[in-house]
């Protein structure tokens, strides 16, 4: 009798598994933002959740802020969560570098990329009253004299993009680490430094006032700034340097769940109101599915690990 009951339970479990997957999601999904409310990841996540919740039937996406340790606290929590698709991480590029740089205990392979929704390419920005009108002028001058370049902090993605430029040119920069975009903007708009390495998302809002963008590290020129050349056009042999934002789930999550979530993100992306909101908030919405997102993650990991090793950054 006992034996029979066991097999019965086992049988139900086996039978239940695919059914569960098909009916996913049947409960609320926690979208973990590992930063404080009001930041770029939080804002974009809330815009996505709002649209996604109009598409979901019988389930809700809740944005959960687990801030601390520069993102590591929330990221670690998701890496250890049940791989059932009910805990999703708002994944940023920092997941790639944090194990090496900040001593995070997880590995990038502890996450399964689900979908990408925003790529933020690096730009070289100068004060509006800077003598350098073009990227060529700036680069030529930088070979003669050491430029003071504002970055968010040593060993951040922005600092690394500068190191990457140094690798492919004869230039050496003086890095001026400044925490917070406000302080960095103050330094550039006030003309206290020569240039800044910024993500396009933040730089774009300041163009036309105190800031001029000289080059963007993406394969194509930005639609909003057709006169700004790409890094390659400006003579910097870096086809792309971009931080990314997307969704990831803990490793071990089933293919079906990853597919469901990726489809959901695609449906969000195809909603006109969503595109409008993202653009108004200053983010360029894109969509890449799980496989394509994984390629982005891997190539970013390759780019950064070479630089981290060469420059002797990290612990």
């Amino acid at each position: 009798m006992k034996h029979l009951r066991f097999t019965a339970i086992a049988a139900t479990m086996v039978a239940a598994a695919p059914v569960l997957a098909q009916s996913y999601p049947e409960g609320d999904i926690d979208l973990v933002v590992p930063f404080d409310p009001g930041g770029s990841v939080d804002v974009t996540s809330r815009i996505i959740a709002e649209t996604a919740n109009t598409l979901l039937d019988g389930a809700t996406i809740n944005v959960v802020n687990r801030a601390g340790g520069g993102g590591v606290v929330g990221q670690t929590a998701v890496s250890m969560a049940q791989p059932d698709g009910y805990t999703v991480l708002a994944m940023t590029s920092s997941v790639v570098t944090n194990p090496q740089m900040k001593g995070a205990t997880y590995a990038v392979s502890d996450f399964r990329p689900v979908a990408l929704y925003n790529l933020d390419p690096e730009v070289i920005a100068v004060p509006a009253n800077s003598p350098y009108q073009t990227a060529e002028e700036f680069l030529a001058a930088a070979e003669e004299q050491t430029m003071n370049v504002v970055v968010a902090g040593i060993a951040t993605s922005h600092h690394m993009s500068g190191l990457a430029i140094e690798r492919v040119t004869d230039i050496d920069f003086n890095y001026i680490p400044t925490k917070g975009f406000g302080g960095q903007l103050q330094a550039i708009a006030g003309g206290h430094a020569d240039a800044a390495l910024w993500p396009m998302g933040e730089a774009a809002g300041q163009v036309g006032a105190g800031v001029r963008i000289l080059a963007v590290a993406s394969e194509e020129r930005d639609e909003n700034f057709p006169d700004v050349p790409t890094f390659e056009e400006a003579g910097i042999d870096i086809p792309i340097w971009a931080t990314f934002r997307g969704w990831a789930v803990p490793e071990g999550t089933s293919d079906e769940v990853v597919q469901e979530l990726s489809d959901l993100m695609q449906a969000v992306y195809e909603t006109p109101a969503y595109i409008e909101k993202m653009e108004a908030a200053g983010y360029d919405p894109v969509f890449r599915d799980a496989a394509s997102f994984e390629t982005v993650v891997n190539s970013y990991a390759e780019q950064t690990s070479a630089i981290i090793e060469e420059a002797g950054l990290g612990q």
Binding site: D36, P37, G38, G39, S40, D42, V43, R46, I47, E50, V63, V64, N65, R66, A67, G68, G69, G70, V72, V73, T76, M101, K102, G103, A104, T105, N148, G153, I154, A155, H159, N174, Y175, I176, P177, T178, K179, G180, F181, G182, G183, L185, Q186, A187, A189, G190, H192, A193, G205, Q206, G208, A209, G210, K277, A280, A281, G282, L313, G314, Q315
Partner: protein, 515 residues
């Protein structure tokens, strides 16, 4: 003028005005609860604001932001537990005055000072926002370093008696500020492999511990002492009459002007923040008090119930609220961590703060500015209602129960900043440390100042020297950095003048002894 009218027009919607009023009320209550501050309140509120119309959401936030700084003074005065960090200094003279039976007077001075400071700074914001923003841009790394030096020099004014202990306290603060990954090298410092410390010791829980938990331990010691002496614990001071005399108003007017000016200037400068403004204003008021009133008949000692000790920090902290919007709205540069949350709220509604905000979303930009003015007008009546209802019922609780409630609220507040258990430990440890410091009579003020200014001192010094190629004289370069040179000179005076005065006094007493 037309633009200002546009702001009023946007605000004139009854629902928006109602939201502003609710915000002022909520801010006052949030501020008056130890352990919960406007930062935590915003973190909770921003997700909700998403589903509200932009004008309503921002009106509510302006109300909370303005009033929280005022509400913090209520528990600071009645139970010597600052409701927010901005009323840290108010607790000294405010509570001393309350214990002498003038709680109503103290509260009234605090609220009136807040309203005056807030109104003056709203008017400055209304009339000069875009042109003042240009002043903020003149502050580079060199100027920021000089400003931080000026801030830390204001410690002198806080020291009563032991200078050595004050300096030790400031050093403790600076030392704690070094915890976390170094922005200069990217290397970990005193992190001990704990990921929670990567960005330094979490600041909000740290403050909650230093004020809330420490004050709770103090209350507990009070209760235990009166028990062991077999007395009934002294009751909390009754609030009493809220009237202040015209004579007092005239006496405080110069302090209000001076403190509001300091608050306005500091608020405009990114990174300096509210705490620095209250310390600087307090320092100036202390000097004035010693010059004019000390030793007169019927006057208290400084720190033991001087009205200037309440008026200065309260006028300054409310002056910071509106002026911190100057660089935020005009340049997209937040003046402090709370106003930084406005950026998030604006972005959620599809607006990017910065120079283009006034052209693209002029109605909202001007509404925010006008809302600051109106919120300050709401403040007095709302404060009166809160004191008569909410505060009265809170302070009617037995002291023993209040200890438990404050402890719970502090831990809750610490936790809700990032939903992290680790933060509760930070608050607890910080509270115990602050309590031990108090027992050793090491002042807390200089430590907080060191804590707040540490990162700014470090990065601005490093970056100034990198840019100037290691030239230390850059800070006193009158030609290229006149602002910095001026601030360094004032800082030097802050240190030297008291020493000279002391020497002169000693010489004079020696002279009288000889004759």
């Amino acid at each position: 003028m037309e633009l200002i009218a546009l702001g009023f027009q946007t605000l004139a919607n009854p629902v928006v005005v109602l939201m502003l009023l609710i915000g002022v009320f909520a801010g006052m209550v949030v501020g008056s609860i130890p352990g919960i501050n406007d930062n935590i309140a915003f973190a909770v509120f921003i997700p909700f604001s998403f589903s509200m119309p932009t004008d309503q959401a921002l009106a509510l936030m302006v109300g909370v932001y303005c009033a929280a700084a005022t509400g913090g003074a209520i528990p600071a005065i009645v139970i010597k537990v600052p409701g927010t960090a901005s009323s840290l200094l108010t607790a000294e003279d405010g509570n001393a005055m309350a214990r002498k039976g003038f709680a109503g007077q103290a509260l009234s001075i605090a609220i009136t000072s807040s309203v005056v400071g807030g109104l003056l700074s709203s008017i400055v914001l209304l009339l000069f926002a875009p042109s003042l923003a240009m002043v903020a841009l003149r502050f580079g790394y060199v100027e920021n370093f000089a400003l931080a030096v000026l801030g830390i020099s204001s410690v002198v004014g806080l020291l009563r008696g032991n200078v050595l202990k004050g300096c030790i306290a400031a050093l403790i603060g600076l030392l704690i500020a070094t915890v976390g990954f170094s922005p200069m090298t990217g290397a970990p410092r005193y992190v001990f492999g704990n990921v929670n410390l990567i960005e330094g010791i979490p600041f909000v829980p740290l403050l909650v511990g230093l004020f809330g938990i420490a004050a709770m331990l103090d209350l507990m010691a009070d209760i235990l002492q009166s028990r062991s002496e077999d007395e009934t614990p002294t009751a909390l001071p009754a609030i009493g009459s809220l009237k202040i005399s015209g004579r007092m108003m005239r006496r405080l007017a110069p302090v209000w002007g001076q403190s509001s000016l300091i608050g306005n200037l500091i608020g405009m400068l990114p990174g300096a923040g509210m705490l620095m403004a209250i310390f600087l204003a307090y320092d100036q008021a202390a000097r004035r008090f010693r010059r004019l009133f000390r030793g007169r008949e019927g006057e208290s000692e400084w720190g033991e119930g001087a009205p200037e000790g309440i008026a200065a920090p309260e006028a300054a902290n409310n002056a910071v609220t509106a002026s911190s919007m100057v660089p935020l709205l005009s340049l997209g540069i937040p003046g402090n961590s709370t106003s930084a949350l406005f950026i998030g709220a604006l972005a959620l509604h599809g607006m990017v703060p910065g120079p283009l905000l006034f052209t693209q979303h002029g109605d909202i930009a001007w509404m925010i500015i006008v809302a600051f003015l109106v919120a300050n007008l709401f403040m007095w009546p709302v404060a009166w209602v809160v004191l008569r209802t909410v505060s009265r019922s809170i302070f009617a609780i037995r002291k023993e129960a209040m200890v438990g409630v404050i402890a719970l609220l502090c831990l809750l507040g610490a936790y809700s900043d990032g939903a992290n258990i680790f933060n509760m430990w930070v608050a607890l440890v910080a509270g115990v440390v602050a309590y031990v410091m108090r027992l050793a009579s090491i002042p807390l003020g200089p430590a907080i100042l060191g804590l707040v200014l540490g990162p700014q001192l470090e990065t601005s010094l490093n970056n100034s020297l990198v840019i100037s190629q290691g030239n230390w004289l850059v800070f006193v370069d009158v030609v290229n950095h006149p602002i910095s040179a001026g601030m360094i000179a004032v800082s030097a005076l802050l240190w030297v003048v008291p020493v000279l005065m002391g020497l002169r006094e000693r010489a004079r007493t020696n002279a009288t002894e000889e004759t």
